[in-house]
Amino acid sequence: MNVHQFLTSYSYGDAIGNEALEIRDFLRSQGIGSEIFTLHFHPRYANQVRNYLEYDRFSAPANTVIYHFSIGSPVTKRFLRLRDRKVIIYHNITPYQFFLDYHRILAKDCFKGRLELKSLAGQVDLALGDSEYNRRELVAAGFKETGVLPLVMDFAKFDLPVLPVFREMFADGKTNILFVGRIIPNKKVEDVIKTFHLYQAHFNPESRLFIVGEYRGFERYVSALRELIAGLGVRDIHFSGHVPLAEMVSYAKLSHLYLHLSEHEGFCAPVLESFHLGIPVVAFDAGAVGETMNHGGVLVVRKDLLGVAGVCHEILSRPELKAAVLAGQEKALEKYLRPRTGKILLDNLRRLLP
């Protein structure tokens, strides 16, 4: 049996693309043939993936095709026509309303994605969500056979040293707060900025905010964020843009706290990456975030921005509290270690065998 994967886009540093790569490597390590087929891909991965239109050469009824579904795209139509066994991994679709003011094409694709999800119901052999939150959405969309497969992640790749230059630049005694993710409206970066402003103004003037993530395509959103920063008069906010893994790890390792106030997440990988890197996490309970945090870190259930700034201050100024948060995070992370998620994947694939 071969298990191949379909996805719409394979971007550099993207959680879904990374998972596809992890699944492929894991399956190959189990002696199962596996390839990745995609519509768009980053040039860096040109030798790792194939065009999805090439799949006809590989298609066979004994094969299983996993489709990573997160947005409406022409890949769905091709996937539905396959004679192979079909599995979808649903990563959730951001509600289109978040993009109406900033990216109408993406808003359209997200809207279309929700319709396509319904069209997939009854057409696939198994539908997996990477969180219970996503699985519940699958059930609501009409899928009968469902399950949960937590994001398959390789945490070992984050075990990199801090770049000496970064240490020279940012290890200057200031308290560094980190946000990682695409700079898009549902991530509510404005709330992170406002909270940081309150933290800097009322708790710790010697602090800095790293906003690490891709913003291309969302220049108007970032422009509005910059206007907000100017309006608040907040300083020491650093937008890194898209950075290589070594730099991302350096930012993270030089940070003292991870702050995530997104209002829609289907899983939220950066939270787990921060758990692994030993950074205390304060995150807003939206979508699957609470479930992903698995009782680790500090979960914000109501957006009281000054209160959140106060929580950050408490964690950063009380070593015993920070240690307790980190201990909780370490325990929470066990659920996501690769041998465990790999076993869940194989168990689910076995469910499909006659």
Binding site: R104, V165, M169, E219, R226, V301, G310, G328
Partner: protein, 185 residues
């Protein structure tokens, strides 16, 4: 303060909330923090630039819906002021009697009106041509405003991109300096 956080069982959330509340209250009492300031910050909305792709061109049908269809035909003005029937005969006789007197006076109002209306009627085609010209100018002006808006939005986006690049350059300069410090010698 109602707890707005959840954490592992080992962490005393109530105690954290009490500590935060005390610190905030102390700052408020010292006049360093005002509730109105916090509310203002929380309620600040982002002001996104308009998407120039979403600014439509405005063409004549949008500006003048049903203009041509609803345009009233020129009224038969001459007919409107003509007396008819019995009134016409009586008025003619009456005017004939008074003519020796009124011939040395200004022209009667109805004659003035009639002359004016006839003049206006002659101008109707010119007015219609002018209105067509105004419509064209109006369209042109609208489209120029649309194009100017698009250019303005594009300019703002380009400015944002330049600011990103400036930040990037500044960061790279800092990085370069940090690297130089790390180099031996």
């Amino acid at each position: 303060m109602e707890p707005f956080i959840r954490a592992a069982a080992e962490i005393n959330v109530e105690e954290i909330m009490a500590a935060i509340q005390k610190k905030i209250q102390d700052k408020k009492d010292a006049g360093l923090l005002k509730q109105s300031e916090i509310d203002e910050i929380s309620e600040m909305e982002l002001q996104p630039l308009p998407d120039f792709l979403e600014i439509p061109h405005i063409y004549e049908p949008v500006l003048y819906p049903g203009f041509t269809e609803n345009m009233a035909p020129p009224a038969a003005l001459e007919e409107a002021i003509q007396e008819t029937g019995l009134a016409k005969g009586v008025m003619k006789k009456f005017r004939g009697l008074l003519y020796p007197l009124i011939r040395f006076m200004t022209r009667p109002l109805y004659v003035e009106l009639k002359t004016g209306i006839l003049d206006l009627q002659k101008k109707v085609p010119i007015i219609l041509q002018s209105s067509e010209y105004v419509r064209l100018l109006h369209n042109a002006m609208h489209n120029m405003i649309v194009e100017a808006s698009k250019l303005k939005t594009e300019e703002e986006i380009l400015k944002t991109k330049i600011r990103f690049l400036e930040d990037k350059i500044e960061f790279l300069e800092n990085r370069e300096r940090a690297l130089e410090k790390k180099l031996p010698g």
